[in-house]
């Protein structure tokens, strides 16, 4: 492991150890937090008992749907907009201010329109993620060197094949950045939405436990979210590094 990596691991171990110590000695009362070892232990118990298995699958499924929809729509819209500069000029200012809009404010509207099922949660995750994919797709497509487009012309590729065989492959690393953001935003969107109004999902269970002062459920479930998001992100990071290594000039 590299030196920064060692220091990072050390800092994490130290902080977790401090929290453990403070909880065990009663400096932090158990009504506020439980020791990390107890969180891990309780999490194993919850996973083994299968009590929340359905909530966990629902949340992960909804997040996956939100990510998939955001990727497909973001890449398709980005590719279309890039080939229509006039339309793009109309919408550009909207994209710039998009993330200033608090998406959760639309939650009541989404429930009215989409009903009480999983759709409002998926919609929030999708809405948060799609523009990140779109903007990164545009960014990547804008950087395709002219000479590669000329090469496509010389090979007599039409506009659609040029997009599929030259423009999008060139933009892939940028779209990957969009994908990483889409993963993060979809988790935020779906779990956040479950907090507000929903009757199942990880977010719902955390909120329910919180309202009942049930720290032995709330903290393990938060830990679960952390573990899932961090491991997904680390594997994406690893994959991205391998992708970029070949292409570095």
């Amino acid at each position: 492991m590299s030196l920064p990596g060692l220091i990072r691991a050390g800092v994490i171990v130290f902080l977790v150890g401090m929290l453990e110590l403070l909880c065990r000695t009663g400096v932090i009362p158990s009504i506020t937090a439980i020791p990390p070892s107890a969180m891990a232990e309780a999490l194993f118990g919850i996973l083994a008992s299968g009590k929340f298995t359905q909530d966990i699958t629902v949340t992960l499924r909804n997040v996956s749907i939100a990510i998939a929809c955001a990727m497909v729509a973001g890449i398709a819209l980005g590719t279309a907009l890039q080939s229509l500069p006039a339309v793009r000029r109309i919408f550009d200012p909207l994209f710039a201010t998009y993330y200033a809009v608090p998406m959760y404010a639309f939650y009541p509207l989404l429930i009215v329109v989409l009903g009480l099922g999983d759709l409002p949660q998926i919609a929030i995750g999708f809405l948060l993620a799609v523009v990140a994919v779109l903007l990164n797709t545009l960014n990547g497509l804008d950087r395709v060197p002219r000479v590669l487009l000329k090469t496509a012309q010389v090979h007599r590729l039409g506009p659609v094949r040029t997009a599929l065989k030259v423009r999008l492959p060139f933009a892939a690393p940028y779209i990957f950045t969009g994908f990483k953001l889409a993963v993060a935003y979809s988790f935020i969107g779906v779990i956040g939405a479950e907090f507000i109004t929903s009757n199942r999902g990880i977010g719902y269970e955390i909120a329910f436990a919180y309202n009942n002062f049930d720290n032995r459920v709330m903290y393990p479930m938060i830990l679960l979210v952390l573990v899932v998001v961090i491991s997904v992100n680390m594997s994406l990071h690893h994959w991205e590094k391998r992708l970029l290594e070949r292409r570095r000039r």
Binding site: L148, Q153, V154, R156, V166, P169
Partner: protein
């Protein structure tokens, strides 16, 4: 005639405070089947514009360009290959897949793709790098990949836009030898655009000297080299005489082009 241009000009319309730009012509040019024709000219004289028009990448503003008796107009005809000065290899594909790109797009049968790609890898000395990505190769090697990618399609006309411009002198001489070998082997007509007078003289059957912008042909001279030649012609007496003649023709134009650039800067 394999390729013929008659009265070709290219104007870039005025826009955003820029006056209209007369980049090229009028140009008349005829290339015989299997000829190696080199174009030299001062920088910014419209050499690349000439290539774009001949390839069908740009429309002539006036005049007409034809390839094998068919008019070239805003679309690249079948049978034309182009190698650009800039690195045009696809960074996400291995050397092998780069070379096979055109064949795949033309939906050639798999065995055909495999055998042609293998041959091109061997011919261009890229066999040991078949699975490498362009990022792992030097500039010269990447240019070979681009040449190989053009070569496998068996173009009948190959347009080369300063393909060795970014390479060092020795690599350029060797690449020149390879170009001659490739030309003899394929029997293609070649148009080579270059700013290097020695390169033009060494490689071409005929050298066209272009004026400063708007580019026109001032002179065309024949080198009378034998078909089987290589870079050692640079030591011949005729080589010195020819390069001398080209430079005499080009000197005034280069000065004019330099003046333009300084006035523009």
């Amino acid at each position: 005639m394999h390729v013929s241009l008659r009265g070709v000009t290219r104007l870039y319309p005025a826009r955003a405070g820029q006056p209209e730009l007369h980049a090229l012509g009028p140009v008349d040019l005829e290339l015989a089947q299997g000829e190696l024709f080199a174009v030299v000219g001062p920088s910014g004289c419209g050499k690349s514009t000439l290539l774009d028009v001949m390839a069908g990448l740009a429309r002539p503003s006036t005049g007409e360009c034809s390839f094998e008796g068919r008019r070239v107009d805003g679309e690249v005809p079948d049978g034309i290959g182009v190698v650009f000065q800039e690195d045009a290899s696809f960074p996400w594909l291995t050397v092998r897949d780069n070379i096979a790109f055109g064949l795949r797009q033309a939906r050639a049968p798999d065995d055909d793709i495999r055998s042609k790609t293998r041959y091109a890898l061997e011919f261009m000395g890229l066999k040991d790098f078949a699975n490498a990505y362009p990022a792992q190769l030097s500039g010269g090697m990447r240019q070979r990949v681009c040449i190989a990618r053009t070569l496998v399609l068996k173009p009948r006309l190959i347009l080369l836009d300063e393909p060795f411009g970014a390479l060092d002198q020795q690599t350029r001489l060797l690449m020149g030898d390879e170009l001659l070998r490739l030309w003899r082997e394929t029997g293609a007509t070649i148009l080579l655009i270059t700013h290097a007078i020695d390169e033009a003289t060494m490689l071409a059957d005929r050298v066209g000297v272009m004026s400063a912008r708007p580019g026109r042909f001032l002179d065309t001279m024949e080198t009378h080299w034998p078909k089987h030649r290589d870079s050692t012609v640079v030591s011949s007496e005729a080589f010195g005489r020819l390069t001398g003649r080209i430079w005499t023709r080009l000197r005034a134009e280069s000065l004019r082009a330099l003046g333009h650039q300084q006035a523009g800067a």
